[in-house]
Symmetry: none
Subunit: 201 residues, 4 copies
């Protein structure tokens, strides 16, 4: 009953978020209108505003949700492998295989815009930083593990390399989004090799 109702609301919320993701990916945050989201999600304007306080809140919740999903996916990939090297390799190749039209890429596109958006707003700086920490921590843990395993060198600065990893990812995925016809695979392979060469024993 109450549970069902909550489930239903959750479902509606997800429909809105899914529609918003599509719209923001297609037209950008400012370019997408609530009516666009209404059309895309099939949820009426009034309902949307019962579910979310404002367009901005939709944006934030979408970003938050996507961020969590990204983390979950990464953790899923990581847990499929045992050696630290395999884990990192898998992360590189994992994103490599996706379609540019896949949800992951759409999310990334919207996340990229959100990052620019946040960088202009003092009140979102902390959120940005928090998200960076989450991403860095995941990779730091793997590198740490690799060092303990004897796979990676002791001397490397773990945090810096985790940051470098994400900087690679960022440049990479952006590249693929902007220039979808490029020989992306070779590019990623190149970066993967560079990165791993630096940290492997």
């Amino acid at each position: 009953m109450t549970l069902e109702k909550e489930d239903y609301k959750e479902e509606q919320r997800n429909k809105v978020l899914a529609g918003a993701l599509e719209c923001f990916a297609q037209k950008g945050y400012e370019g997408a209108t609530i009516d666009d989201i209404v059309n895309e999600s099939g949820v009426s304007k009034g309902s949307i505003y019962k579910l979310f306080k404002s367009k901005e809140e939709i944006y934030f919740q979408l970003m938050s949700q996507n961020s969590k999903e990204l983390m979950d996916e990464i953790n899923a990939v990581i847990s499929k492998h045992t050696s630290a090297l395999d884990k990192l390799t898998a992360l590189f190749t994992e994103y490599l295989g996706r379609e540019v039209n896949s949800k992951v890429f759409k999310s990334f596109l919207v996340q990229s815009e959100f990052e620019l958006f946040s960088s202009r707003r003092e009140d979102l700086r902390e959120l940005l930083e928090e998200r960076r920490r989450a991403k860095v921590n995941i990779i730091s843990d793997v590198i740490h593990e690799g060092i303990n395993n004897g796979e990676f060198r002791k001397e490397i600065d773990i945090t810096v390399h985790a940051d470098i990893f994400w900087s690679y990812m960022h440049g990479n995925i952006t590249h693929k989004i902007l220039y979808p016809d490029l020989p992306y695979q070779e590019l990623v392979n190149g970066q993967k090799e560079s990165f791993l060469k630096k940290i492997r024993k």
Copy 2:
């Protein structure tokens, strides 16, 4: 006289573009209003619309100009050095030293937004591609030179590595813009080493 007039117009145009850069950097393309640009540039609204057809045109011309300036700067850096290795090294360190508030970073921020913007518009895809080619060509030339010089390995795929170079740059600068308090220098050094290690003999 006509020349003088032309000069004056040029000057006004530049004032508008400079103002627009500032505004777009601070508020984003959609967030910045024509009135913002009027205030920032000191050029009246009427004049702006005499100089440019629309807000979008200001955007495009600003992006085009910035793109050229970027190329000029890069060429300037490159021509200060003789060996290919020094040239690439300088490019890495050149950006490394800038202030996040410098014009280069502002330009980059706005360029980043523009790239997302373009990626959503079919009619700008070609422009995007063109700009990529320009950037890739500069680096390709240096790598090519390095190969001929015997500094770099013969076997490497020149274009792919030029792309990788820019992917690095992108991830890098984005990182610095988003997280200005990070130990950016170490990060860039790390990437520089990775990259150069891969292509050097």
Copy 3:
């Protein structure tokens, strides 16, 4: 059973009207939403619309009910006294003693807004007039009685003085609502004296 059902409906209707009074008093007619009334009354939206055709109808019925209640209260006060003078005196003092937060004052506040509202709507003019007649009649009767009793002067225009009475009341209560910290009692006493002095023999 049908009777019981009718009672129940009546009870619900009253809950809605009570809630509406509270809401309209706090936020004004336009400012109060149906949801406010739902929250305040504890009656669901669907039920409210089963009980009343529209928000406006709630307003009208509330005003009508309040008007009747006001008349009842006045009659109650009047019937407690025997001389006409005492009756009028009691009416002055009766309102004097109330709390600004009392239901009477809330009603008055909402009635005041309703009067302005009605004065702008041709179709409500007659209703307005009718309510005035009811109020004037009550006082007219008392004055009439006083004249017959020999308490009041024969020459006074009964209707005019009944109107003056209500004009006093209106200015008075409005004053108290708008400026709750004023020495209201002295004010009312002053008016009471003025009024009574004019009509007493």
Copy 4:
């Protein structure tokens, strides 16, 4: 030049305020839309929002302006007479003669709504009080003068009677607005007599 421009803006502002007065009088503050004001004033929506920050600001400025105008009018009436008694008498009769459709009555109607509006908003309480003070002061001064002149009794509480004066006025004008067909004149005369009888020697 700048002066002219300022004059022009002032003129536009007045057009908007005049239009707003008309609209608010006809439909009430909430009922009147910006589009109504656009139509009534002949000033476009964009221009209105260059002149005023919001609909509420139009409201406040209109109320403030009207309040001042009311004071000016009262002062004008007062200064036409020399004895305190004549001054007060004139104030009673001055309003008596107006048409219900006159600007004064429209203003009063809108002011009445504004008073109810303010009484519901903590942040406007002070403004309300301030306006009461201004009105009370004018009358207090006259009564004071009358006491010094020997026209009025020494013992009366000046402020209380100034308040009573306005309470009369309020009840009075409201009466006329609500029931325009009433024998208003007799009513006012009655009140005038009551009031003056109480304070005269």
